[in-house]
Symmetry: C2
Subunit: 355 residues, 2 copies
């Protein structure tokens, strides 16, 4: 998280804006917290240009809970098309079977999830209740760079995206989205807050088995206060939204500034990997993630030495997910270009000293 956000939180811990209370001590129904909540919601809407006919919900349980909550609310027990492009969408596909008839519209499994299946190849059902897509897969490093126009593909179903791991790193074309959900812990704030953005016409169809606390319609009607919301997490998310609003790159600001910065950061790292015969990234260029960049040493017997050298330089958490192996650099919004440059410098140096 950005240092200035943490410093502001520390400074306001026992007294928020002269109220005599810290945010953790506020009633969620008091005017102070309502002001925090409304500002956070308005800033998130502004940052992503979310149209007025979408509701913004602050919920709990993260993306894994949403794997159940989305079909509980949207599937009506019918067919749902899934695009499986990595581990996260595979989990969503499996969980949905509790509530509906999940259909595999496309899978990248045969190519070991090294590319997003091309939208033109998706087998979409005529009567699906929605189409599920994880728009950034953290483990496989696969990102969807242009949301599909489902109508043009012959489907009348709304598109549901799991944007947990790249929310606020880029703009979203809401004309192509019915619902987007994401846990806060990558680009927004502390774990324990889930953001759900849902088109109003999709509310009100929850299955009888849907817990009231997770019924989008009840949550929306109660401004995310049907149950007590995670107040401090919402406050921290709000501070991060304000930080993003302050970001500038040339004439760009907010998410557009971060998007340009994220493109530059990813390019720097992919170029270094591609230019080398020592490392490789196996993801198809058109599907490469700007947030999560898995790469391999061609001689994997050097993995331990690579990680030890990285750690000695303060380059942490570079070990790839156990299901994939190799290395992975996660370069979320809060990672500056200098951090990526330090990694690239290390890549070159390690290669040089081992060839």
């Amino acid at each position: 998280m950005p240092l200035e956000v943490l410093q502001q939180a520390a400074a306001e811990m026992t007294d928020w804006h002269g109220s005599g209370m810290g945010v953790m001590e506020m009633s969620h129904r008091g005017k102070e917290f309502i002001a925090i909540y409304e500002q956070a919601e308005a800033d998130f809407r502004a940052l992503l240009n979310i149209p007025a006919h979408f509701k913004i919900l602050f919920m709990q349980g993260g993306g894994i809970a949403e794997n159940a909550i989305v079909p509980l609310n949207l599937s009506r027990g019918g067919k749902v098309d899934f695009v499986v492009s990595g581990s996260w969408s595979e989990k969503s596909f499996q969980e949905a079977a509790r509530y509906c008839q999940p259909l595999l519209a496309a899978s990248g499994k045969a190519s070991e999830f090294t590319a997003l299946p091309a939208p033109g190849s998706w087998q979409l059902s005529a009567d699906a209740q929605y189409v599920h897509l994880c728009s950034n897969e953290t483990i496989h490093g696969v990102e969807c760079h242009e949301l599909p126009d489902l109508k043009a593909l012959g489907s009348a179903a709304p598109l549901v995206i799991d944007f947990s791991s790249h929310v606020l790193s880029r703009s979203v074309d809401w004309s192509r989205v019915g619902l987007a959900f994401g846990g806060a812990q990558k680009n927004i704030g502390p774990a324990g807050v889930t953001l759900v953005v849902v088109r109003e016409d999709l509310l009100g169809h929850a299955l009888p088995a849907c817990p009231s606390a997770f019924d989008y319609k009840l949550v929306a009607q109660n401004d995310s206060m049907y149950n007590t919301p995670p107040t401090y997490g919402i406050y921290m998310a709000g501070l991060t939204f304000q930080w993003i609003l302050r970001q500038r790159e040339g004439t760009l600001q907010g998410v557009a500034a971060l998007e340009q910065r994220n493109i530059a950061k990813a390019q720097l790292l992919y170029d270094a990997v591609d230019a080398s015969s020592f490392y490789e990234n196996r993801v198809s260029p058109a599907s490469r993630s700007r947030m999560n960049i898995p790469f391999f040493l061609k001689d994997e017997s050097r993995n331990d030495a690579f990680l030890a050298g990285a750690k000695a330089r303060g380059l942490l958490q570079l070990k790839g997910h156990k299901s994939v192996g190799g290395m992975r650099a996660s370069i979320y919004n809060a990672m500056p270009l200098e951090g990526v440059q330090a990694l690239v410098d290390y890549l070159r140096e390690f290669e040089k000293s081992h060839t």
Copy 2:
């Protein structure tokens, strides 16, 4: 929340114990957060003397989500006995109908929830999967001071208690409990963490409709990390646990010290109300809550003047819940005796100046 807990959190915000990271920046699978988690769990177990055959789960969604999650996990779709002693247990009773056959074993409604229905009068089913009791009702100010021995009442079912609003204010007799759940926001920490204490033999019976993220068995098997846990909330809860461990009253310490303090605080306020002919508390003495004390001005036309005078003295949040009216003092663990004394002084002064 205790001031010293907030001050410690502020001091550690950008650097926890020299790790170079704030708690919000930690991976929930890293050794630093695992240490925080394990300490919090061990301290909570020690504070409440929780036996080894109970699992402690850190979940999300609060008590209102648990109203669905408990029957999803424990009801097996069968009969469940509910003791309805106020608004919270009534909500639990209503929500359970999505998943099981909730039966009204007892209700305090006829007496306007001014007493906990006597255990001897409960109509318990021979084949209930569990018995639900809210052991402290915040709105009606009704507390269960001795957990019932269901076996002695002829029921073989486990007792489930919602202890959200008085957890850690007193000891718990675990020999009489199968499961206890509570949101953290009253006595523990920030909203967004739910504590569930569940006897191991009750795990593994979730209904197919139970979301994986809320299946107690999966949560227990994954040490509350099946989905990403609310890391910062768990850290804050842990700081509060440490604060409670440091509390002393004479030779008592920890929860026993707080319990003695809470008895004294409640006694002070009830005595003042009972001694006056100007105020009244309508709850039967044996069922009176130590945490939430609703009271009425006998002449309710003076309510606004009472609240205005209280506010001028910094005595806040005294308005009773809209469903009950009157006044309510919530005197949770963090409220010192001096705070209650200030309220009692005001009660006397207001009475004197209005009679």
